[in-house]
């Protein structure tokens, strides 16, 4: 099943996993499954309208979902996803 890399800022809400295997057939399904498995991450990830907050980016096999089909991008079982969060630290 697809694997997603979790940013440091969210790991804490996901039992400290830096990677998770999530059965899902699209990016939006995968994010919904994440939010369902870890309810406290939902607020961080999604805004009041259920949209992915704009300081997050999702890459599938290194390609931004903007270049694919956005949140509707279909996933294959061997896909590797990266959830990228903005970080200000320096």
């Amino acid at each position: 099943m697809p694997v997603i890399r979790i940013p440091a800022a969210l790991k804490y809400y996901m039992d400290n996993h830096s990677e998770l295997d999530i059965p899902a057939s699209s990016v939006i399904d995968l994010l919904a499954a994440l939010a369902e498995r870890y309810p406290s991450v939902k607020f961080h990830l999604l805004d009041a309208d259920g949209k992915l907050r704009r300081h997050f980016n999702v890459f599938v096999n290194g390609v931004h979902i903007r270049e694919l089909d956005g949140l509707a991008t279909k996933l294959n079982p061997d896909d590797k996803l990266i959830l990228l969060a903005s970080a200000a630290g320096g």
């Binding site: 830096s18 300081h55 320096g90």
Partner: protein
């Protein structure tokens, strides 16, 4: 630009590399780089650029060296605690390489002074610690047509890229909007592994040198994601965002804006006096008076469990901020409550959350347990 015999000897190991050589070293001598922030990232970046012989290095910071900086900000030393960071860094750089020029700008980097400070530098290096300065640096680079050598760090995670709108995406193409205030913890709140900025800063310094020399393939259109715990390096490709408000075809941001307003947070990462606003704050000394009058006051500690080993207040209830929304039912809204954290920033957010959930008798301990340690109980450490 000719090199002296002294310079030829100093840079000998560069002159031996065909990609650099005498011509490349002369290019570096004629080049300039502005390092924004002399903290975790700025330290290695400035040290390596100075050692490499970049002819003119600018440093922007308005902070003073604090002993909590020294775990990672290796340009500064213990003898410099309390001194201006740019002066401390300048002294160190000129000791490392007296043959270069170092310009120190002891001022906050703002929309008012950014063009004046940056216009005469070839490249900008983003080593700042906050979102407003990052968006400012990005927009400035787009407007001035200069590359923005970007790095950021948090705990064990680092990112690096070169944002250069003439040839690829900018920072806003990737992050069109800053996170809602308070949602992304800073290093002052969440911490950072001391050596992490060395890895990311050395990537930034490498990219800066390549750009100044005009060699190799720069990290334009690519983002490096580094994780020190897994020792993983991932690269993702980035394209220009056609909807980018600053570098896209329909850009509507055409001059520098008020970045603190845009981000809703201040342009620094200090949390010495974390406040929820005068109406909601209680000082450490007022809290001591309240505690000793033995009311039914609830002390709510919203720090992470591992922070309790550093310092704690007796009788306090611990619910980490990240769990608070899900655990509100454990709290009695009729009871008076004082929320606290390390320095008052996370507790101010907790207070907002509590108030929006209908809690009315809530106060924020201004300055957090660190203020309590300073003003009330000196047996506790400050961290």
């Amino acid at each position: 630009m000719e090199l002296s015999h002294e310079e030829i000897l100093r840079y000998s190991r560069h002159l031996l590399i065909p990609e650099v050589g005498l011509e490349g070293q002369q290019k570096l001598k004629a080049s300039s780089a502005l390092v924004i922030g002399t903290g975790g990232l700025g330290s290695p970046v400035a040290l390596y650029l100075a050692a490499a012989g970049v002819g003119r290095i600018g440093l922007v910071d308005y902070d003073v060296v604090d002993s909590s900086n020294l775990q990672r900000q290796v340009i500064h030393g213990t003898s410099m605690v309390g001194k201006l960071k740019v002066e401390s860094a300048k002294q160190r750089l000129l000791d490392l390489n007296p043959l270069i020029q170092v310009e120190a700008f002891n001022e906050p980097f703002t929309s008012e002074n950014a063009i004046r400070i940056a216009k005469d530098y070839d490249i900008l290096i983003d080593g700042t610690d906050n979102f407003p300065t990052r968006y400012l640096t990005n927009d400035l680079c787009v407007f001035l047509g200069k590359p923005n050598v970007y790095g950021s760090i948090y705990r064990f995670d680092g990112q690096a890229s070169v944002f250069f709108a003439k040839e690829g995406p900018c920072y806003r193409c990737l992050f069109p909007e800053p996170p809602p205030p308070g949602l992304v913890p800073s290093c002052a709140e969440g911490g950072v592994l001391g050596v992490l900025p060395a890895t990311i800063g050395s990537v930034q310094a490498s990219e800066a040198l390549k750009l100044l020399l005009g060699i190799g393939s720069p990290l334009i259109g690519k983002l490096l994601l580094y994780n020190a715990l897994d020792m993983s390096f991932d690269f993702v490709t980035l394209k220009k965002n056609p909807k980018c408000r600053v570098c896209g075809p329909n850009a509507d941001v055409t001059e520098l804006i008020d970045y603190e307003e845009f981000c809703g947070v201040p342009g620094h990462d200090h949390e010495d006096d974390g406040s929820a606003g005068a109406d909601w704050d209680i000082s450490a000394s007022d809290l001591r008076a309240r505690v000793s009058s033995a009311s039914g006051l609830l002390l709510l500690d919203v720090r992470e469990p591992h922070e309790l080993a550093i310092s704690a207040l007796r009788g306090a209830t611990n619910i980490p901020l990240g769990q608070l929304a899900a655990r509100l039912s454990e709290l009695d809204s009729a009871r008076e409550m004082v929320v606290f954290c390390k320095a008052g920033t996370r507790s101010a957010r907790a207070l907002e959350l509590l108030v929006s959930a209908g809690f009315k008798k809530v106060k924020n301990l201004k300055g957090g347990i660190n203020a309590w340690a300073r003003e009330v109980d000196q047996s506790l450490p400050i961290y």
